[in-house]
């Protein structure tokens, strides 16, 4: 029982990270139907920016988090302008390969400039542990930070998407791009904004991971990127609550699987669940089934 509770806390933290990354995937997919493979790399850049700011400039946790989110959102917008905008009318596969080339470029450019070796993230949060139930459950302050910040960011995102004008425009573009354009919505601007928000969330996830696991390296974005994408698809890609649900679901499953003896297969199980879910509900667990019209 204690172990289960402990794993629940760990799963919640890991799930928060996945959920933050998955949100960016899902938003971009919802708007331009592109699997943005470079998204995992934005998360990696976010971690490195956080690392640089805290190590070399001595910034605290919150300033580092916010500046990293800003820098990542700028990077996301830049990538969209340079790489994806010219591809908007070409085939899906061409767009997908462009995304992969951007991802490779970010990975290996970072590797070239920041050296391929693993860096140690400084301890910017005081390492306090709270213990419950006579010490059988340990709640790290870092866990609280991660879960709290994720919750705040998600509420903020929900507010932006549902209560602001640009959020309304985002929803309109995701439903029908051409109709939205005819209604006077500046589609380019909305897409740019979507990339900015999604990338900011990924940047936040990067800094949080750095703080939580203490190590970062240039290839750290590849696997969590794929996993977060799996999470987005599990929940139903293009649906914002779906990404959050998928992220937590995947984080929980993974933690439970590794806790109960299957740690080497945890990645395989994530993908097996993905395939099973796709077979039963191709639009994801929270997705609506759409009928194909002839």
């Amino acid at each position: 029982m204690e172990q289960l509770l402990q794993q629940l806390i760990n799963g919640l933290s890991l799930g928060s990270i996945y959920a933050l990354i998955a949100l960016g995937y899902t938003m971009v997919y919802g708007i331009i139907n592109l699997i943005n493979f470079a998204h995992g790399e934005i998360y990696m850049v976010g971690a490195y920016v956080g690392f640089a700011l805290t190590t070399f400039l001595g910034l605290g946790f919150l300033p580092a988090l916010i500046s990293s989110m800003l820098i990542c959102s700028l990077l996301g917008m830049l990538i969209e302008k340079v790489a994806y905008k010219p591809m908007r009318n070409s085939t899906r596969i061409a767009a997908l390969i462009t995304a992969i080339s951007v991802s490779l470029f970010l990975q290996y450019t970072m590797m070239y400039f920041a050296r391929p070796d693993t860096r140690t993230f400084p301890n910017i949060i005081t390492n306090r542990k709270l213990s419950f139930l006579n010490g059988s459950i340990i709640l790290d302050v870092k866990n609280i930070y991660i879960i709290l910040i994720t919750a705040v960011l998600m509420v903020a995102l929900q507010y932006v998407v549902h209560k602001t004008k640009i959020g309304k425009a985002m929803r309109a573009v995701s439903i029908d791009k051409e109709a939205a354009e005819l209604m006077g919505i500046n589609v380019d601007q909305v897409i740019s904004f979507t990339f900015a928000i999604g990338s900011a969330l990924a940047g936040a996830a990067g800094v949080l991971v750095g703080v939580y696991y203490n190590t970062i390296n240039p290839l750290m974005g590849a696997t969590p990127g794929l996993k977060a994408f799996v999470a987005a698809v599990l929940g139903g890609i293009g649906i914002i609550p779906g990404a959050v649900f998928g992220g937590f679901f995947l984080g929980m499953t993974e933690t439970m699987v590794s806790a109960y003896g299957g740690s080497v297969f945890k990645d395989a199980i994530a993908f097996a669940i993905l395939i099973l879910v796709l077979l039963v509900k191709p639009n994801g667990l929270l997705g609506k089934t759409t009928r194909e019209k002839v």
Partner: protein, 310 residues
């Protein structure tokens, strides 16, 4: 039996002449071992690209797990030749068969999915195969499979590459190939016209997997050593890049793409730290300036889709 047309005879003579010349040059050491290595890699890449083109280009099923079939073939061949001492020809056939069975097993359930969802499912399949291979001790796990006898040479590579191209070319120009093309253009319309879409999608998938398995066998028996991470997601992407770079729906494109990209990447081996950066920039440039590929012609489809959306 139908008599061969003049064009076919010319092609056969051309192939034989090409083989005779290259083989002569290898025997006389005009082609050194480094060049020969690249020729064999090109052959393997052609098989992989043409077989993926059958699935993705001609049948329109977006697969991101092609390397998994290659790895199944590679491991099958490695086990058969190294552990059981079977002859190479048998292990090639069985490697292809093993990959094709895997293709059917994964194809029957997942090919109901469409577009990006199929891509994700095949990606997941590829990762599952890789992780399983990492954790099976019999085939070496993460350390890799060592001491595979080196049976692959230029003759094997040339024969199998030529056979793959000829077989797939004949398939796509047959009744069955036209059924596949119909599914690509519009699955519902094809089904209404009486094409059994599931059957043809699985057939194309299994055929593609078969040839990928053969490529895997060639690879394993050339490099002595295989490890699961050589057949990961990036390998699948590399194959897809060849197909898209050469041009979807074009076998000639896949061949040219495999040759050009293999040469580019072998030149880039010289600057290891910048290799992937330059590779990604080349990829990006190709996609921006020539998204339909070198020999591809997607204009017709794009035009049609645009008209529909208005």
């Amino acid at each position: 039996m139908k008599r061969l047309s003049r064009k076919q005879i010319m092609i056969i003579i051309g192939l034989l002449a090409f083989y005779a010349v290259t083989n002569f040059m290898i025997n006389k050491n005009i082609i050194d071992s480094y060049l020969q290595l690249n020729m064999i890699v090109i052959g393997i890449n052609i098989i992989l690209a043409v077989s993926l083109n059958l699935i993705t280009g001609f049948t329109g099923q977006f697969s991101l797990g092609h390397a998994a079939f290659m790895s199944i073939g590679a491991y099958t061949s490695a086990i058969l030749t190294a552990n059981f001492g079977q002859p190479f020809i048998l292990s090639i056939v069985l490697s292809g068969a093993a990959a094709a069975i895997a293709g059917i097993l994964i194809g029957v359930p997942t090919l109901r999915l469409k577009g990006d969802y199929l891509a994700i499912a095949t990606l997941g399949f590829g990762e599952i195969v890789r992780i399983l291979a990492l954790n099976i001790d019999y085939i070496g796990g993460a350390i890799g499979f060592n001491d595979i006898p080196q049976y692959t040479n230029w003759t094997w590579t040339f024969i199998l590459t030529a056979a793959t191209i000829v077989l797939i070319y004949n398939f796509i120009n047959s009744y069955h190939g036209r059924a596949c093309a119909a599914i690509r253009e519009d699955e519902i319309a094809a089904e209404i016209m009486g094409v059994n879409a599931t059957y043809y999608k699985v057939l194309a998938f299994a055929m593609g997997a078969f040839f990928a398995g053969i490529a895997g066998a060639l690879y394993a028996n050339y490099f002595y050593f295989i490890k699961p991470d050589s057949f990961g997601f990036m390998k699948s992407i590399d194959i897809l890049v060849i197909v898209v770079f050469g041009g979807m729906k074009s076998i000639a494109g896949s061949i040219v793409g495999a040759i050009v990209l293999t040469i580019i990447s072998s030149f880039l081996q010289g600057i290891p730290e910048l290799r992937m950066i330059i590779y990604s920039l080349i990829l990006f440039g190709i996609m921006i300036y020539r998204p339909t590929g070198l020999i591809g012609d997607d204009k017709f489809i794009i035009g049609k889709k645009k008209r529909r959306s208005i």
